[in-house]
């Protein structure tokens, strides 16, 4: 049982004429990272707002926040991609729907992918933000109100700055998840790293070289993220606190 290894394939020209295969894969990694970063901006913004609202005392705001989280947590990511890509444009007014569907490649794939990943991850960020806020002693909020801050000032100056530092480690793993999850965008046509390694294996039949190269690129990316986030964590650490956040165990 022999597999014909041919590592040199990585330096050969890819049929699209854009350069070598390794260059083709690196561009794919670029798309994975750009998609993940754009989605991360949405996830952080929406997730922080939703997570914070779920800790307020207004019952209806909390209920709406909970409903948002439950909807996007209980539908598989791939199905959400299909909803954004195939279903959502059909519910827009006809002219806008057509404009969305006829956007030039790769934006027609990229924009739904960013929206989908951003909203999907915002739910996880919201859970972390809520957990972070609730892990603070009640006295913090009370002390804020007692010295004359309004409810929103107490959040802005007392609660959130501490909560975000506490949840740095789980947010790091969410960021690594968003890079990994960007691979699902390949199913709607975005040629990111996984999609390109699959395409390379179809062009050349050197399947394992293509997947091995993609695997190594993902591992290197993870390494960079972990090291970068550790440096950031060390810089923003609250003196006197044991820096550790309680991430939920189950997850991807």
């Amino acid at each position: 049982m022999k597999y014909p290894w041919h590592w040199h394939i990585l330096l050969e020209q890819e049929p699209g004429g854009s350069g070598t295969f390794i260059h083709y894969l690196l561009v794919g990694l670029g798309w994975s990272i750009v998609t993940a970063l754009c989605a991360w901006v949405i996830a952080l913004l929406v997730g922080s707002v939703v997570g914070t609202l779920r800790t307020t005392t207004n019952a209806w705001v909390v209920r709406i926040g909970n409903a948002y989280v439950e909807i996007f947590r209980n539908i598989p990511l791939l199905v959400q991609f299909f909803l954004w890509f195939y279903v959502f444009p059909e519910f827009l007014p006809t002219s806008i729907g057509m404009a969305v569907k006829t956007m030039p490649v790769p934006w027609v794939f990229f924009i739904p992918a960013v929206l989908c990943l951003g909203i999907f991850t915002s739910v996880r960020v919201a859970e972390q933000v809520r957990a972070g806020i609730q892990s603070l002693p009640r006295g913090q909020r009370m002390a804020g109100i007692a010295i004359g801050l309004t409810q929103s000032q107490a959040y802005r100056f007392v609660i959130l700055p501490q909560a975000f530092r506490i949840i740095m480690p789980p947010l790091t793993s969410e960021f690594m998840n968003i890079i990994k999850n960007s691979s699902v965008a390949y199913t709607i046509g975005l040629l990111e790293l996984t999609g390109r390694s699959r395409a390379m294996s179809e062009f050349t039949f050197q399947t394992f070289e293509a997947f091995a190269a993609a695997t190594v690129l993902y591992l290197l990316t993870n390494l960079v993220v972990v090291v970068g986030m550790r440096l950031l964590e060390a810089r923003v650490r609250v003196p006197g606190l044991i820096a550790a956040g309680g991430a939920p165990l189950a997850g991807h």
Binding site: L78, V79, Q80, L83, Y86, E90, V184, F208, F211, Y218
Partner: protein
């Protein structure tokens, strides 16, 4: 959009559930069983005082957790036939069905996640429990099997089930190897009849209802266990 066609969903119900959902549920349950067994072994290896053993398990878990599931599915889809050929000493890759390939993938992949859960479970048991086991004259496997693992497992049931709900959702990714799971069945009908809106909306609703109800059950279970302890 030419009106939402409810009849389309109704007509495809037998195919969606008898073919698609059966595939999804079978894959989820078997991969859960295999994943928990292999994951528990990995957790015991990771906690071993033997550095090579814990190193190997740690490397495996970190590797699986660092690469996307879609890529892992591709890896095993092409790797399993070669492994089969190697086992049977054949010169050709062995043809394996999509189901077996998916089952191997999810068992191996989820084991890494179940491992981390079981490791936390084992570490939550008081050290004195292990010592009392040894003091009674039990060996390592007896101590693990009769004392530590039953407690660790029991403490971790809610988290293991939550992970299984994620596994249930993740099985939809077998779409990339054209398997006919629930989503795959919906996609095939959607493309055949050009009814993507109906089929994908319906698939989303079904996944939501199942996952949401299961999470609710897990939440109730968690409350119950918390009271008992």
């Amino acid at each position: 959009m030419s009106g939402f066609d409810w009849g389309e969903i109704e007509r495809s119900l037998p195919y969606l559930f008898k073919v698609g959902m059966v595939f999804t549920v079978e894959l989820t349950l078997l991969a859960m069983a295999g994943g928990i067994v292999f994951g528990t072994l990995l957790a015991m290896m990771r906690l071993s005082s033997h550095r090579v053993v814990s190193g190997v398990a740690g490397a495996y878990v970190n590797l699986m957790r660092s690469i996307p599931l879609v890529l892992v599915i591709f890896w095993f889809f092409f790797l399993v036939p070669y492994i089969g050929g190697w086992i049977t000493r054949s010169n050709q890759p062995v043809q394996v069905g999509v189901f077996l390939s998916a089952l191997v993938t999810f068992t191996m992949f989820e084991a890494a996640y179940y491992c981390e859960i079981m490791r936390a479970g084992i570490q939550s048991i008081a050290r004195g429990q292990v010592w009392s086991g040894y003091a009674l004259g039990l060996n390592y496997w007896q101590t693990m099997g009769h004392i530590v693992l039953p407690q660790a497992f029991r403490n971790m049931v809610p988290v293991l089930l939550t992970q299984t709900i994620i596994l249930f959702q993740d099985t939809s990714l077998v779409y990339v190897i054209s398997a006919t799971d629930f989503l795959g069945a919906a996609a095939k009908i959607a493309n055949r009849d050009y009814r993507l809106v109906e089929m994908y909306s319906f698939a989303a609703v079904v996944y939501f209802v199942i996952s949401f109800s299961l999470s609710y059950v897990v939440k109730r279970l968690q409350a119950k266990i918390a009271v008992l302890r």
